[in-house]
């Protein structure tokens, strides 16, 4: 079996399992929607303009939603003994990492495809259809970073006691630079401040962040997932 076939087999397994149970999709989606409502009541007053906080609100929501999903992505594998089976297969560990990252990415994107329009309806006054490709680029790049780093850290924390406590403690400080870039780039799109200078720097930064942590995860995943 080639690495590509192994990759798609693991990815298909993860997505099939998720489509049958819909555990992560439904609960994370609900979490995201609830966060938006809570943000509204936490920040809104009669004359407040939330436009300049939109990027931050969106990414805080996605970050915490992704954390929920990442925790689950290995919990079942570990509890049901599926991971042992996976490790016994003659599969390169890096292939497992890439497939798991891709599965998490697909789930996160599936949630965002619905959540971003709802968010726009709730909080964004400007029509940004012309800048939609820019927003899609920001979201894709940020998601890739979140899922790559998150999958690596979820692998580490699943083997600890109290794994759902450990993951945020490790994940959140590491993801701060990505959050900064994604937040300001998204706010720029929502407010129409899309001069290419600043936004371009942030996009390049996101590409660099993804590349650095994909390489770092590539080099260390063997050790993270264990024997």
């Amino acid at each position: 079996m080639s690495a590509a076939a192994q990759f798609s087999a693991i990815l298909r397994k993860d997505l099939t399992r998720e489509l049958r149970t819909r555990e992560v999709l439904v609960s994370v989606f609900l979490f995201v929607m609830l966060s938006l409502v809570i943000f509204h009541y936490a920040f809104a007053s009669a004359e407040s303009d939330l436009t300049f906080f939109t990027g931050g609100m969106l990414w805080v929501t996605f970050l915490f939603g992704a954390l929920l999903g990442l925790n689950r992505s290995f919990a079942q594998e570990k509890d049901e003994g599926c991971l042992d089976g996976l490790l016994l297969c003659p599969v390169d560990r890096v292939t497992i990492f890439l497939a798991k990252t891709a599965a998490n990415l697909v789930l996160l994107l599936a949630i965002q495809v619905v959540a971003v329009p709802v968010f726009t309806l709730f909080f964004v006054e400007r029509s940004y259809l012309g800048d939609l490709p820019l927003l899609a680029g920001v979201v894709l790049l940020a998601d890739l970073g979140i899922c790559a780093l998150g999958t690596l850290l979820a692998t580490i924390s699943m083997n600890s006691r109290a794994r759902d406590l450990l993951l945020p403690v490790l994940f959140l400080p590491l993801i701060v630079p990505l959050l900064i870039a994604a937040t300001s780039a998204t706010t720029a799109v929502f407010t129409g401040d899309t001069g290419l200078g600043d936004l371009g720097v942030r996009l390049v930064f996101l590409v660099a962040f993804d590349a650095v942590f994909l390489v770092a995860a590539y080099g260390t995943y063997d050790f993270a997932i264990g024997e």
Binding site: S160, V169, L174, A216, T220, F223
Partner: protein
């Protein structure tokens, strides 16, 4: 038992440094001399800063070397992380633990001295200035290192995870520093950057002497802490064996 006793004595001797030129006590003496010289140079040789910072700039002869030592300590953890993954030897794990612990300690001191200076320069104890913020995030990041260690029971696995995390964390710190510059600077002036034009030779010399002193202090602390960790492991090992023979 006698062999263990001899080993313990040896380890204790290692901790004390045994009068060697590079033992922990000797390093502390050198560090003390260099740091004292650095302070004397800072106050009596280097001129008072000509820009708006004036006398308060003197704290930089202390603040910058501490920041340097913090980064070096995290670097030690990074390198020992790589070495551990290449050949799983618990000595590297111990060195990594010591590096992170001292790096965290020095980072807290960086923030402390930075805040004192900020109070004088900006009139506020805290400002979201890129350097200060980077050290805050580094502190939170490396605090997670200890949470991680405490939550993994098996020794080899704990060491592996700690090594992986120390590597990733060290890669993240410069990225964080870069990213914090995306944020608006707000009302506060940008700190004058050491090494930029305007730093006089006498200032640079004073700073370098302090950097040398702080590096020596860090080296001494690493030796001492490392020896203490090794003794701790040895004691735990002996206790286990005493338990096995039912004593």
């Amino acid at each position: 038992m006698q062999a263990s006793q001899a080993r313990l004595d040896g380890a204790a001797g290692g901790a004390a440094g045994g009068g060697r030129l590079l033992g922990a006590p000797a390093l502390f003496v050198y560090a003390g001399a260099a740091l004292a010289a650095g302070l004397l140079l800072a106050f009596w040789y280097a001129p008072v800063d000509a820009s708006s910072m004036g006398f308060s700039q003197k704290i930089f002869y202390y603040h910058v070397p501490i920041a340097w030592a913090a980064l070096v300590a995290f670097g030690v953890a990074f390198v020992s992380g790589i070495l551990y993954l290449r050949s799983p030897d618990l000595r590297y794990d111990r060195l990594g633990l010591v590096g992170v612990r001292l790096g965290l300690l020095f980072s807290l001191l960086v923030m402390g001295t930075g805040m004192i200076w900020g109070k004088v320069a900006w009139g506020a104890w805290w400002a979201w200035e890129p350097r200060l913020t980077t050290f805050l995030i580094a502190c939170l990041l490396y605090a997670g290192y200890f949470v991680l260690r405490s939550m993994v029971d098996e020794e080899a696995r704990r060491a592996t995870y700690a090594a992986v995390f120390a590597i990733i964390a060290f890669v993240d710190v410069p990225i964080t520093f870069f990213a914090t510059r995306f944020l608006p600077e707000g009302l506060h002036p940008v700190v004058i950057r050491a090494g930029e034009a305007g730093m006089e030779g006498s200032m640079l010399l004073s700073l370098l002497v302090s950097v040398l002193g702080m590096s020596l202090l860090l080296a001494g602390l690493i030796r001492l802490e490392y020896a203490a960790e090794r003794l701790g492991d040895e004691i735990a090992d002996l206790k286990d064996r005493l338990g096995e023979v039912g004593l």
